[in-house]
């Protein structure tokens, strides 16, 4: 991960990048994360429950995010996920790798990067 490299893993890994990015500033619960991805991608990306939660659990197990049951007034308790300091480093690396990837693709395909 030290050197941003471009391979197939990165395409798969973009899902991780999405989740980590969304948790960068605020702890969020699973449903909120799913809605945000759908909303911000204007419907282009949608996470199914069967892939969203296993992915969250995996990131949690790696120590990149941490889930915690939180009970807010008048609501049922929910499990909120927040970025750990390790996750924050991973996010920075992945983000840079992604940019390199996009830039490379752009140079090859001739599409201007906005």
């Amino acid at each position: 991960m030290d050197h941003p490299s471009i391979d197939r893993e990165w395409k798969k890994g973009s899902a991780e990048l999405l989740l980590l990015s969304l948790l960068e500033n605020l702890p969020r619960h699973g449903y909120e994360i799913g809605k945000l991805i759908e909303h911000r991608s204007q419907g282009a990306l949608r996470f199914h429950i069967a892939s969203l939660y296993p992915l969250l659990y995996r990131l949690e197990k790696r120590g990149w995010i941490q889930g915690r049951w939180v009970e807010k007034d008048g609501q049922r308790r929910r499990r909120y996920y927040r970025l750990t300091s390790q996750g924050r480093k991973v996010l920075a690396t992945q983000r840079q790798g992604w940019q390199t990837f996009v830039a490379a693709i752009s140079r090859i395909t001739g599409v201007e990067n906005a």
């Binding site: 699973g30 449903y31 429950i49 069967a50 939660y53 296993p54 659990y57 197990k61 499990r79």
Partner: protein, 900 residues
Amino acid sequence: MPDWKEPIRQQLASLRLAPAREAEIVEELALHAEDRYRELQSGGTAETEARRLTLAEISSHALLARELAAVERTGAPEPIVLGSGRKAGFLTGLGQDLRYGFRTLRKSPGFAVIAMLALALGIGANTAIFSVVNGVLLRPLAYPDPDRLLKIFESNAELGQYSVSYPNYVDWRRESGSFTDMGAFRSDDFNFTGSGEPEQVHGEYISASLIPVLGVTPFLGRSFLPEEDRQQAPCAVMLSYGFWKDRFAADPNVLGRSLTLNAMRCAVVGVMPADFRFREEARVYLPLEQYASVELHTREAHMGLGVIGRLKPGATVGAAQAEIGSIANRLARQFPATNAGHGAALVRMKEDMVGRIRPTLLLMVGAVGFVLIIACANVANLLLARSTARGREFAIRAALGADRARVVRQLLTESVLLSLGGAAIGLLIARWGTSVVLAAAPGSLPRSGEIGIDPYVLLFTLVVSILTGVLFGLAPAFHSANANPQESLKEGTRGAGGGRHRTEGVFVAVETGLAVILLAGAGLMMQSIWRLWRVDPGFNTSHILTTQFALSPKVMANPSGIQLAFQQVLDRAATIPGVRAAAITSLVPLGDSDSENSFWPGTGPQPPQDRLTSALFYIVTPDYPSVMQIPLRRGRFLNAMDNLDSPPVVVVDEVMAKHVFPGQDPVGRQISLMVVGPVQIVGVVGHVKHWGLDTDDTNKVRDQMYFAVRQVPDKFLSEAVAGLTLALRTSPEPLSLVSAVRAQVAGPTQDQPIYAAQTMEQIISGSLAERRFTMLLLIIFAATALLLAGVGIYGVMSYAVTRRTHELGIRSALGASRTEIVGLVVREGMRLAAIGIAAGLLAAVVLTRFMAGLLYGVRPYDPATLVLVTLLLGGIALLACYIPARRATAVDPVIALRCE
């Protein structure tokens, strides 16, 4: 609302997740499904359609199970405490337990603080006593191979062990093959002049071989050479580190400088290291042969000489003992007049230093152990009460699949955390406590300079606190783990069954019992001290000032000068306002000095040594009985006319009179003294408890003789001068006269210092120091025990009252009077206390036997003490039961019944 959980659970069934983990995932996914369902509905989807779509999402794919399997199969993070603990490693589990335990304790700070304070008392007391035991008993002496260092005494059946005569030491050293070498030493005081105020400094005469035998390297310079340890050699001196710092400002060039000791110029050849603790008070060391006494080379004189030998590698104490014994036998045959009946005894050096204090310290270890157990019982009770309150928590865990071992482990972690917290505070208490203990026991504790908190003490505290945590945590933990989840989960259950109350009862009984034992011990010590204070020492102890003094070096040259100087000191002291009588004496009763002389009845030739009798030999001036107020029984005391020109006389005490001349009047009879020769008995005085208020009756030397300073033969006078004491009977408080005495004794030339001034009462107090020390500590421990036991009973009774609110409410609704309610509660508590007290009394009768050696005038099973202890503890227990009982009567039946 549709049930989302069941379809999700079905999806996960194949994964066989830990129940807790599964519950967590199901909850989270069900929430998601619920959100999705509501969103669909709010978007206009019909209710049945929304439900169908949501269900399809969560259950149509095998994807969820497959993806989760990939993540969870490899060991999902263990939920804290809830799981079985089999999957996670021990250390991971421990980390979780610690974190969780920490959080739990933080949530109830009041409980945590009280528990930790109770434990801190117990652990602190144990640490303090252990640091003393460690420094005194356990740590080896600070010499290389200290176990090979042996103290060698002369010994016989009459006197036990006593100091060695120098010629015997020289023969032992020459003839023995078991030792690499031997060294000898003798304490003395030196008049240090020529550097400001004259000062009396304590020092040691040591043989040149002593420092090498100990294996110590001087900090500066060297130790004595054999040629310096000769009678005519120029005086050489070694300094203690402290003396070098104080009086020579730590001058690195001190070697070769000279100082004046006893009017002799002595050149400094070495400085000892700072941690050299052979004889703590010594400030200067001189070669033994510089001890200018004819008696040093007299085989019959035992001038307080100590001998230390270093065993050769491979030699055993037994073999060395046999060898020295056979040399002593040979010497006895060769010199029957002086050596008949004298054997030799070998003791390890450390044993010689600390053997006497060992029983006291072990007693303390036992006492603080009890205090700690009481603290544990208290905390265990607190934990039990809490475990009932936490019953639901444990029941839920059990229901979710936590196994018993895991819950027990978690609870033990919590209790160990508590005890570690207690230990941290306890260490502070111990540091403070140790300094208090040492201040309370000045001088009565050997090696006290080596007491402190070192890594061994820290390790001890750590081990004790972990063991403590397990000890007091075990019962509550098993109690919680065994709780029936169904019972605990029922709302409004009162109490958690009888098991807990039985355990609580046992704890209360145990701590009450232990408190009884400690109180009995403290009570017995207090009685002993009280009785000792009332022992008649044979003289009037109040208003006596004693002080040692040194004569001016200028008068020491001739005997008549010394005698004149004594008279002048007495005359000048007598002029001090408030001084009613003044005397000089070679011995002070109840101090730690002694001097014996052997005698035989009649004027015949000296019988062999083993037929001689020893008596304490007081060399005094005529006013001694007036100062001490010792009663004259017959004849007269010594007077000014008893001098070298008159026939030598002696006054004996009543014990010696009865012993030597049973049924006869000893006045006018002759006896013969070693060194002095035949003397006539002119009077009989009362016996004085010289050896101590407690031990005088059992000492082997109880006969006492008084001999006039003026009749001391000239050749012995200069050494008899060393260590003489001026004793004054005063009208005002004795210590108020010290500065006046100092001014008068100093004399016109201002070179006669006084030192070690103390009242007779201080001396007596000092003679009881060890017992007082024991008593003081036992009182502190017993008071702590009493407090903890009282709090323990109170806590249990308070809880019992709360638990029985409902029942008591019904009783009072049915007409029970206040008195009946109080009686009910108090009876329950007092039953426990009574069981504890009874068991404690039995144990006290057995255990206090071990302190029989420390008691005086009171038997270990002293009924008065036991009755008092019972009353005191019973009273405290009654109070501790009565307060909650009073509260029980305040219960309003209506409210009590409503709390169902």
